[in-house]
């Protein structure tokens, strides 16, 4: 990336104070992650583009806060969480459903991968709607984005023990949910 390349050309002193990751590099690398996160945090499809924009504007403004040793995903997720929270509040005010929770998971177990993926996505979305914000965030980061506990702790500004505790509960509920809805099989 141009930004990253240019940063390497700077002297050490400049690097010590300058953000070590460029906005453009973050945007390119993590746009999909931010989008997915916003959706999984309850932003409706109709609003996710706006929410993504809002998120990246904040990212741009706060880029100098991102430490060189910090997880970019964790940092971005923290911002996305706050944006998503605002959107969910607004969606509730407008009586919109924050998740497509009214779409119950289909039991159509078609043979094609695309159908299975779509069904998995529906089951996941329905499950996420049942979680509170804290557990949802932990579950998304741990089970879907596969961040480490320290990264999740950093993203959510919560100690690791609390992360583990929330994750354990969220996983238990996920197992029960999948069993109750038949998973991917009819």
């Amino acid at each position: 990336m141009t930004g990253a390349t240019n940063k390497l050309a700077l002297g050490t002193a400049a690097l010590a104070s300058a953000p070590t990751r460029s906005f453009e590099a973050l945007y390119e690398a993590h746009f999909d992650f931010v989008w997915r996160s916003l959706r999984r945090l309850g932003v409706l499809p109709a609003f996710v583009e706006d929410a993504a924009q809002d998120t990246f504007v904040v990212v741009h403004r706060r880029l100098s806060d991102l430490r060189s040793d910090a997880s970019a995903k964790a940092w971005l997720f923290g911002i996305a969480m706050r944006v998503a929270s605002d959107y969910r509040r607004s969606q509730r005010r407008k009586h919109a459903v924050s998740f497509d929770a009214d779409r119950s998971p289909s039991h159509d177990s078609g043979p094609f991968e695309g159908t299975a993926k779509a069904q998995a996505a529906r089951v996941l979305e329905a499950f996420l709607a049942t979680l509170d914000d804290d557990k949802r965030a932990v579950f998304v980061l741990a089970e879907l984005e596969e961040l480490s506990a320290p990264e999740i702790s950093e993203a959510l500004e919560t100690n690791v023990n609390t992360i583990y505790s929330r994750l354990r509960i969220a996983r238990e509920r996920f197992v029960d949910f999948v069993a109750a809805h038949g998973g991917l099989h009819g």
């Binding site: 141009t2 953000p19 924009q53 504007v57 403004r61 100098s64 998973g183 991917l184």
Partner: protein
């Protein structure tokens, strides 16, 4: 922690890539919207055209137009009529906002932004600024345009309206109804450019940029020279020199490559650097 049962693991494996953007163009639209918002925020009181940045960003999304300073120096040159398209449209907006995407879609009210531009300043439009809706080409934000604006944080603080919400990472969208400029019909500037200040600088360089896009090299040179003369210590001198380097390359000036290299070396993070390298066929910066 115990392993998940197989069914749960299978479902997660299938769902892991779900909920991503389905529309391949969404990435670009969001990029442009961000650039617009960043510009509006950076320009602050001086340079936001007479309209809401929120609606501008929203308009940018629906029509593909943008107007951010960062976009402006990276994208405008790649988007032939973008500058000319964006400017008049932005002028018809009511009040400046730092960011939002007031599209035709229903949109939730949002937290107050961290900073809200106050002034409405438009720029004069030449007849070449006639809008051509939807004609925006893909911008060059992927070439570091926003990187060029990144220094906004450390050394270019837009005026901030600190509210309790602004302390956290609240989205910069806003429902703040800034004062209205004298909105005009499409194509007619509502407010003339100020004689001095960032708004005036942007007007000149915007004109130069538009002229470059239309291969009106003499006009571009005139605008750049005027900027150099009027704004010896201007805020957009780097942008001016970047445009000048670009102009020389586009004109086929035999010394263009040298001037371009000098610019890129002196301003490696400039929004225009990537564009200049390509236009002037420079090698990669080591």
């Amino acid at each position: 922690m115990d392993e998940l049962p197989r069914a749960a693991k299978e479902l997660l494996a299938l769902a892991r890539e779900s909920h991503g953007p389905e529309d391949g163009a969404a990435r670009e639209r969001v990029r442009r919207g961000v650039a617009l918002a960043v510009m509006a925020s950076a320009a602050g009181t001086a340079a936001t055209v007479g309209g809401t940045a929120a609606k501008a960003a929203g308009f940018a999304k629906t029509s593909g137009l943008t107007g951010a300073k960062a976009w402006f120096w990276g994208t405008a040159l790649a988007s032939t009529a973008a500058l000319g398209i964006a400017t008049p449209k932005l002028l018809e907006l009511r009040a400046p906002r730092p960011v939002a995407t007031a599209t035709t879609r229903a949109r939730p009210p949002h937290a107050a932004p961290a900073h809200v531009p106050q002034a409405n300043v438009a720029t004069p439009l030449g007849p070449e600024a006639a809008p051509a809706e939807g004609a925006l080409d893909r911008g060059s934000l992927d070439e570091g345009a926003l990187d060029g604006a990144a220094p906004l944080a450390p050394n270019h603080r837009a005026p901030e309206q600190t509210t309790p919400r602004a302390q956290s990472a609240q989205p910069a969208t806003t429902r703040h109804k800034a004062k209205r400029g004298s909105a005009s019909k499409l194509g007619r500037p509502a407010i003339t450019a100020p004689a001095q200040g960032l708004g005036a600088e942007m007007a000149l360089l915007r004109g130069a940029s538009a002229a470059l896009e239309q291969a009106r090299y003499a006009d571009a040179a005139t605008s750049l020279n005027e900027h150099a003369e009027r704004f010896t210590h201007g805020q957009l001198n780097e942008e001016r020199e970047g445009l000048r380097a670009l102009l020389r390359c586009m004109r086929g000036d035999p010394l263009a490559a040298k001037a371009a290299e000098r610019f890129v070396r002196s301003a490696p993070d400039a929004v225009l650097s990537a564009r200049i390298k390509r236009a002037c066929k420079l090698g990669e910066t080591p």
